[in-house]
């Protein structure tokens, strides 16, 4: 939660995330302090030579696309992050990535939208999107509009039946304040294997520092776990995994465990644009773990497409009508 990261899982994912992260960078000076925008960068960690090959592949990929990165070997990784377990093979530093606090970022974006004339209605549930445009509310009344946009994330299939979006549950452990314990968002390279994994429950280590010194420890992925309750077996796995990278974490105070659901699609790309139901029902959903990262680019794409303007990146890969899954750059 809160990680703004450029990802290289596929060309389409790279295009969307790099476009969006640069939009965030442009917006950063305007963001109020409660959004806690922090350009701390991402450190992708490699534990062995096999993962170092992945580091080198990523370095070539990012560099050839003008994303500044730096390969760190052994000792340099320890200097970048002194609390890491000794013996890391190395890592890739992506200084352009950042973190922020999504609820307040959403609040900021909402205020901007309202200042531009958008109207906010809270406490009203949409029963269905109308094919002729607009929505029907749960009290039976209708709001007429040219279009409706379903951006309800894990709940989007409720409004758009047959949408290939599934809930993927995640856990986070939030620590007390330990400023400087980690300096970057740290992600194990196995994160990619986990995000790839189709149906098994999986964990992968990542940790995000907040400006106030608290840390968010993740991550876990489960399908078919719809409740908000904490699942002790997967929490255990997640924490044990984290301790393999940051053994000092064991002793730190945790003050909260949080669960949430991501909106996952079969090809790991979001669905952005008109739906298959009607060209007046639009979709912006299925962002999996990259919701906050790609939010700005998603908004821009929707606006540009709706207004008939050229989009900054091709929107085809995110179309609801795409038939074949995108080729991944990994196996």
């Amino acid at each position: 939660m809160g990680h703004l990261v450029v990802m290289d899982d596929s060309e389409a994912q790279f295009a969307l995330t790099s476009y969006s992260v640069s939009l965030w960078r442009q917006l950063a000076p305007e963001l109020p302090s409660n959004v806690e925008y922090d350009p701390c960068g991402t450190l992708w960690l490699a534990v062995d030579e096999e993962e170092m090959q992945e580091v080198r592949r990523k370095q070539a990929y990012y560099s050839s696309r003008n994303v500044p990165v730096e390969v760190l070997h052994g000792e340099a990784v320890k200097q970048a992050e002194p609390n890491l377990k000794p013996g890391m093979a190395g890592g890739l530093l992506v200084p352009g990535d950042a973190v922020l606090y999504p609820p307040c970022a959403a609040g900021f974006l909402l205020r901007k939208a309202r200042a531009s004339g958008a109207e906010l209605m809270l406490g009203k549930s949409v029963k269905r999107c109308l094919p002729e445009g607009g929505v029907e509310l749960d009290d039976g009344s209708k709001l007429t509009a040219g279009f409706s946009l379903n951006a309800t994330g894990p709940w989007s299939p409720c409004l758009s039946p047959n949408l290939p979006v599934r809930k993927r549950k995640g856990h986070l452990v939030i620590t007390d304040r330990y400023p400087g314990f980690v300096r970057h968002q740290i992600v194990e390279l196995g994160y990619l294997k986990s995000a790839h994994g189709a149906s098994k429950d999986s964990v992968a280590f990542n940790i995000q520092p907040r400006k106030n010194g608290q840390m968010l420890v993740g991550s876990s992925r489960q399908y078919g776990a719809d409740s908000n309750q904490v699942d002790p077996p997967i929490l255990n796995r997640m924490l044990k995994r984290a301790l393999e990278y940051l053994p000092g974490l064991a002793d730190l105070a945790s003050i909260r465990v949080w669960t949430g659901h991501r909106a996952a699609t079969p090809d790991k790309l979001p669905i952005i644009g008109p739906s298959l139901q009607s060209d007046r029902i639009w979709l912006a959903t299925g962002h999996e773990g990259l919701g906050i990262t790609t939010s700005l680019a998603t908004g821009k794409l929707v606006a540009d497409m709706l207004l008939g303007r050229p989009t900054a990146i091709p929107a085809g890969p995110y179309a609801a009508a795409r038939s074949s899954p995108c080729e991944s750059t990994h196996n």
Partner: protein, 417 residues
Amino acid sequence: MNDSKFDVVIVGAGPAGIAAACSAAECGRSVVLIDETPWPGGQIWRGRQTSSRPKVATQWIDRLHNSGATVLDQTTVIGSAGPGLLLAESKGRPCRVRWDKLIVATGARELFLPFPGWTLPGVTGAGGLLNLVKNGWPVAGKRVVIAGSGPLLLAAADGLLKHGAIIVEVAEQTSWSCVARFGVGLCRRPGKFFQAVNLKFTMRNVPCTYESWPVRADGSEKLQHVTLTNGQRTWHHDCDFLACAFGLVPNIELALCLGCEIKNGFVDVDARQQTGVKDIYCAGEVTGIAGADGALVEGQIAGYCAAGADHRAEALAGKRRSWHRFGSDLAKAFALRPELRVLAEDQTIVCRCEDVALGCLKTFSNWREAKLHSRCGMGPCQGRVCGPAVKEIFGWELESVRPPISPARVASLIAED
């Protein structure tokens, strides 16, 4: 002590927990009594030396030591790791305790109502200051103002006087006639009546005011000055401590986490102290504020019933009803006046962990929104101080509770299987 199993596990070693442990152990069950602190007695029976404790406390604690119950001190329950399995942290190490029957006797904490300057060092809870003093905090010769409502004000004054404090004033927010009516009602309870008479005598030289309350605390880096009012005029005192007692909030977090029903903010139990969750009982202040006497009765009932000796619990039914009546008399006599809910100004901090002021909170419409956008309640106290305050000020209800119900080391969150 890891992964041990007991017939009856009791959380909280205050009067209710101690009584429950004695009762269950004396019926032959294997019992463990878990408490966060190094001392048995909870909040009300705190005392390093037995001389600081009332006789009844010493009697029960001696009985506990002779009962055969195991005491697991310096152990914080973090949550439930599954049916019949508690996750805890004992002296900093992960710990699991298996139970057949569980008795939650987690007591209550003080309610804090924000007012300008309440975050200064020196502003404390009344019971809180007394406990600190009993554990060595120097108060001899220090000037103390005690404000709020209820018998705890006098109990705190009495205890602090014994440790050499100068009680500058006791400010009771309810009226003299409410207190007098309550005092007369105590005639039905001779023990409590004599307690009250004794207190009044000890306090004969202490200035007591009624229908008065604090409006601000001032000082540079620590408390130096308190302003009080009765709604018509204000007056000031130079002092070192302002000990506040606005009321008690039950510690329902563990019960909530275990799925127990909550009614009017307290854990809902039947006459056998059973909650709606199978094999889970609840006793003491967490089911309703009625003081140590009520807690002892409920603890015994829960202990006997958890041990399968319900017939022994039946004999206590009358006393239980009686102490429940005392609890409602208490709540009626010392109900908080509305002025206390509006003492805070826009720049007064309400969430002390995250420094969120009242003015910021006014922009939200419920607890969840406030938490998400201002981080109120998201700090290490997990909303224990600001939660009850915003409930009084805005009427916002607490949401569900997740483990860890108390901050715990990351290693302690891992429940090995």
